[in-house]
Amino acid sequence: MERLAGKRTWGGTRLGAVSVPTEIILHILVGLFAFICILPFIFTVIISFSSEASIREVGYYFIPIEWSLKAYDTVFDLGLQLYRSFFNSVFVSVAGTAISVLICILYSYVLYRRDYKYKKFFMFFSFFTMLFGGGLAPTYMVCKNLLGLNNNYAALIVPLLVSPFNFIVMRTFFRNAVPEALIESASIDGSGEYRTLFQIIVPISLPGIATIALLNMLAYWNEWFLSLLYIRDNELIPLQYMLMRTQQQVEFMVNNSGKTGPELSEAIRNLPTDSFRMALVVIIVVPIAFAYPFFQRYIISGLTIGAVKE
């Protein structure tokens, strides 16, 4: 796109470009959709800053009658479950990303090595699982009963560790970034396979690794299905699942706030139900919303590489 746009417009001519009225129409169409993509988030932020009285009066509205910070006060006041869940989300995301990236580097490096004898076998071994699987119920039974993925952190981490798609993406990255002669010369210099991989290959493949890490991090951060299947303890649930529980039962967070007796019933009575929920949503989305423009570039390069057939 840069090449095209550059050729066409710099220097003031519109040679080969669409006419001005057409371009205005394009901006309206695309701009409108782009605006709709961000609109619900803006709306949610506004609701979270609306006072409860205002919501009772006019409902969820773009311009509330009265602004208020009460929802956020309450969220942080009742925060025990929030902090716990926040910790769980961060812990699971960081640990899961680290382990999954390591497994991915090792496996895809082997797929990348043309001189590896069982390359074809391991390629098929991972690719086949993209085409066929046991299904949810057998996988659930095996994980829960045989592998012990039941109500523990492992249940939130292990099921997402491996993605055959990421193997293919990573292997393509290696192919583009690492000349095979490099491995040969390292091996002639007496470098062991692991040393070659971690001291020579990994440093020059960092952009690719960053892409995989970000994709995995995002998958872990947004994960709620595993909690739905395997987790029963409130101690263990991550943010997304906490949000889901709050949707069905607003008092969920209050009940897990560490408050008891009259203090608890007081808190439930004063709960700014509607803005409270939306404030939670905002707190969960904000980290993504602010980090995303910066890591977008890496994700895009990962997605486009993964989709290109060799």
Binding site: H27, Y107, Y118, L131, L136, A137, V142
Partner: protein, 320 residues
């Protein structure tokens, strides 16, 4: 290389074997994971042909399976005996077929429109905004939808009231849900596929457009004869992938966005939600496995057929 350096073949052979061994240890963590979490459950397919019961004397998954009664195709018969199953199959296939077509048309259209913009900065901003929903979970999206449709406070509900219309009971009336789900799907996923197409358009050599222009091709003709042919392989790959998953639905979309409300099931029940509900709410492991197996077998057949058709028509675009 190693071979040519060693005078007699033995050293080279030993080094070769060590190398194979060491590289195999690298593949092991991933391979073990695949074995335990992907291949082992494939044996669990037997559950679809059993009346799964807990073996009370020594309950463990293997004992339970060994001591459960074989019922042949009974689970499948039950599955198809209910009207519910036809609803979920209709929904899954219907939504997927519609969304494959709409997804391709809209994503390609937006990608071409963005690529024709001369203000690069605006194009970049649009792209960033359109990609944003892709990074959100369906739980978050369900709150977004709720903000508009909530029965007492939702924006749209209130607008209807203000205009003296009967407010739609969004969470108990299944009729509007095909549109809501379609909108939610496109809203969340268009940015992603749009970026894939845009990357392909960026890669097209600009001299092709210049040549077309010199030959007097209009903008439409350039799109028709230069851009679209270049996009074809990508369109076909994404098409095969989605056809292969035509019997699979995005669980989060159908479970979270309608907030799991029962009255909406006629419009929101799909195979994936059924498999989940049969397993977790009804505790009917046989039925759940049967539905899951059916889904996987049909998916496997679909991707094989789609791929072999593409391979015959256009070998370069096939997936494998």
């Amino acid at each position: 290389m190693a071979k040519s350096l060693s005078p007699n073949g033995t050293l080279a052979r030993r080094r070769f074997n060590t190398k194979t061994l060491v590289l195999t240890t690298m593949a092991l963590p991933g391979a073990i994971w695949l074995l335990l979490l992907r291949y082992l459950p494939m044996f669990g397919i037997v559950l679809s042909f059993q009346d799964y019961k807990i073996y009370t004397k020594a309950p463990s998954l293997i004992n339970n399976i060994l001591h459960s009664k074989w019922v042949g195709l009974e689970n499948f018969k039950f599955l198809f005996a209910t009207t519910e199953s036809w609803v979920m199959i209709r929904n899954t296939l219907g939504y997927n077929a519609l969304w494959i077509v709409l997804g391709i048309i809209f994503a390609v259209a937006f990608a071409i429109m963005i690529s024709e913009m001369t203000t690069k900065f605006a194009a970049k901003v649009y792209q960033t905004l359109m990609f944003f929903p892709y990074f959100l979970s369906w739980v978050v999206v369900s709150y977004f939808v709720y903000a508009f449709l909530s029965p007492e406070k939702g924006l749209i509900t209130n607008l209807q009231k203000n205009m003296d219309l009967d407010p739609t009971q969004w969470y108990s009336d299944p009729r509007p849900w095909p549109y809501i789900l379609t909108f939610a799907y496109l809203w969340k996923n268009l940015g992603y596929s749009c970026i894939l197409y845009l990357a392909t358009i960026t890669g097209i050599d600009s001299s092709q457009y210049e040549a077309a222009r010199i030959d007097g091709a209009s903008k439409w003709q350039q799109i028709r004869y230069v851009t679209l042919p270049h996009l074809r392989p990508m369109i076909i790959i994404l098409f095969i992938l989605s056809v292969g998953r035509i019997f699979n639905a995005d669980f989060g979309l159908f479970y979270q966005v309608p907030m799991n409300y029962g009255p909406l099931y006629p419009a929101t029940q799909v195979v994936d939600t059924y498999v989940y509900r049969a397993l977790m709410s009804m505790n009917n492991i046989g039925m759940s496995s049967a539905a899951g197996l059916l889904q996987n077998v049909v998916g496997f057949i679909c991707i094989m057929v789609a791929n072999s058709i593409v391979r015959r028509v256009d070998p370069d675009s096939s997936l494998f």
